[in-house]
């Protein structure tokens, strides 16, 4: 079927990439693209597909990062198991925040603000409590082995995050074609009409926030294992929330491949400027500028460029 051509081709390219480009730089680049694609997609399925704009997705990311790391460092639980625990914790936090906010009827910027407030609360809490390592954060002891989610070769990380990215895109594809996805789109477009047509808007919104939280938290665990160090500001900070939102917005919200495109661009700009200069901030200047340019001229994100080309070819 033609619907499968794009994802299958993308997957083939992604699978072959590290076999062709074998340098550490190239593989690290691929890992970062896929990593941002995962957390960007996590934001996108809630913010783009269901229209529930969040400024605090770091709360799920951080929950995931801390959950598996604490289990590993303090209780000796294998991080592969921790990954599942993180996803469960992310889903739980997502469902909790959503249930609370939507029960009280929060919408739009009010919902965005409460997610921000929760991320802040979690950051402060982990910063203050000794159990989580406080402001110093947590170091994961080095013990390189695939069984320990610390691959001796970067390529192991690459294929792990590729699996997560493929999963995230599969979720988005499924949302585009399923009843659940249609209901989310209805909620995004007009919540009253959705209710009139028999949609339990509260339940659907809680479900998508749980799914988004789970995916985001899995991304958090990957981050912790890849960098082997986390602290409250890095994983719960507003910058992380903004990063996810940007990846999705710049690529194209509510689209399947938007976050992937946004992630590629974010990484390209980030790594590119780092190669050129030591000065801090340049990549984000470009990225913030891009956000403005895109909203001004491509309100649906970069994906519009692709659509234009395809549209022309078909015509």
């Amino acid at each position: 079927m033609s619907a499968w051509r794009v994802p299958v081709a993308l997957l083939a390219v992604a699978l072959a990439y590290p076999l062709v480009f074998r340098t550490n730089f190239a593989i690290n680049f691929g890992v970062l693209v896929l990593f941002f694609a995962v957390i960007g997609q996590a934001w996108n399925i809630a913010g783009g597909f269901a229209g529930q704009l969040s400024f605090g997705h770091a709360v799920f990311f951080g929950t995931g990062a801390y959950c598996s790391t604490i289990l590993h460092v303090k209780l000796g639980i294998n991080p592969w198991l921790g990954l599942w625990a993180s996803a469960a914790a992310g889903a739980l936090v997502g469902a909790f925040i959503a249930a609370l906010s939507f029960r009280f009827g929060l919408k739009g910027s009010y919902f965005a603000l409460i997610t921000l407030a929760f991320a802040e609360a979690f950051r402060i809490l982990t910063n203050a409590v000794e159990f989580t390592g406080g402001g110093l954060g947590l170091l994961i002891p080095l013990k390189r082995s695939a069984a320990n989610f610390q691959f001796p070769e970067r390529i192991g990380f690459y294929y792990t995050i590729l699996a997560l990215a493929a999963l995230s895109i599969a979720i988005a594809l499924w949302l585009k074609r399923s009843r659940f996805g249609a209901r989310l789109a209805a909620i995004r477009e007009n919540e009253d009409a959705a209710r009139a047509l028999g949609i339990d808007t509260f339940r659907e919104k809680v479900k998508i926030m749980a799914l988004s939280g789970a995916l985001c938290a899995a991304g958090g665990t990957f981050y912790a294992q890849y960098f082997l160090y986390i602290d409250p500001v890095v994983v719960f900070g507003a910058d992380k929330s903004v990063e996810m939102l940007l990846v999705s917005m710049i690529g194209g919200t509510g689209t399947v491949y938007g976050p992937l495109i946004g992630a590629f661009l974010l990484t390209l700009v980030g790594e590119g400027t780092r190669a050129l200069t030591n000065a801090q901030g340049l990549s984000l200047i470009i990225y913030g500028g891009l956000l403005i340019v895109i909203i001004a001229f491509l309100p649906n994100g970069l994906i519009d460029l692709f659509k234009l080309r395809w549209g022309r070819r078909r015509a």
Partner: protein
């Protein structure tokens, strides 16, 4: 608990609230009129603070004497930004305004990082360390000045909005954008003016904050989430609300710091934020949503 310590914490909290109010009044004005959260608020404050810093270091202009200049410059910057970017490129969608201000804040903050590095800078003026005895505690003079100024600023804004023609036009646009257009008000211009005034408040705020705060590219972060909280707590669009909200938040921060310790104390603000969003999203002094 010792009454003196408690008293000192209360005074400290109120003074802190005064500083917060300086930042929050402009934000609440912008929210009240444009109905958007101005994400660029913190970074505009940061830029203004650098402005004040360099005026002092390079041109020996005293921060307090720089107030008129900074207010004018920041007004022009806000008005220009609205005209050139926010109003033009938002395509009339609120989310877009929000994202453009977010984009601006990222750009401005990182431009500061790029040119000024991440180092924080302090200044000293003759009155930086002057202490005034206030009941049980000794208070630095700049804190008292900024507290008084925040009261003045709120009163001045409230007067301006209630009594002047421009103020009336702003109120009309805030309430009924469409109706305002029908009676011949240049709505786009009024929106730009409102944004400009909101940013101009930051010019004054920066002059009052620099004598007691460090300046760094991320200094806006310290204020901005707190300012969001204050604006929601006070009722988006209400000046009195912003002032009262700021004082309450200052007190909360100071007292929860006293009882819960420095690190955990900050959580008081987030909790209040969450509770107010859930139970009274219109805030203490807000009208309908």
């Amino acid at each position: 608990m010792d009454a003196t310590i408690l008293g000192a914490a209360v005074i400290n909290g109120l003074l802190l609230g005064g500083s917060y109010a300086l930042v929050a009044v402009g934000l609440t004005l912008i929210y009240g009129v444009l109905h958007i959260i101005n994400f660029a608020h913190g970074s505009m404050l940061m830029l203004a603070m650098y402005g004040v810093y360099f005026l002092l270091v390079k041109a020996q202009v005293d921060p307090y004497a720089a107030i008129p200049l900074m207010v004018v410059v920041m007004y022009a910057a806000g008005y220009g930004m609205y005209r050139a970017l926010i109003g033009r490129f938002s395509h009339g969608k609120d989310e877009n305004i929000l994202l453009i201000t977010l984009g601006l804040s990222i750009v401005l903050e990182n431009i500061a990082l790029f040119f000024f590095t991440g180092d924080s800078r302090n200044i000293t003026v003759s009155y930086s360390d002057r202490m005034i005895e206030l009941g049980p505690s000794l208070v630095p003079l700049p804190k008292l000045v900024s507290f008084g100024a925040s009261l003045l600023l709120c009163a001045a804004l409230a007067w301006f909005i209630a009594r002047t023609d421009t103020g009336r036009a702003i109120r009309a646009v805030a309430k009924e954008r469409h109706g305002a257009r029908l009676v011949g008000i240049d709505v786009e211009k009024i929106l730009a003016v409102s944004y400009g005034i909101g940013i101009a408040c930051l010019g004054a705020a920066a002059c009052l904050l620099v004598p007691m705060f460090y300046v760094a590219p991320t200094v806006g972060h310290l204020f901005v989430i707190v300012a969001f909280t204050i604006v929601v707590l006070g009722g988006m669009g209400s000046f009195l609300g912003a002032l009262v909200g700021a004082l309450l938040i200052g007190l909360t921060e100071s007292l929860s710091g006293l009882f819960l310790g420095e690190a955990l104390g900050q959580i008081g603000i987030s909790l209040i934020f969450i509770l107010i969003l859930l139970f009274r999203p219109t805030g203490l002094f807000g009208g309908g949503r």
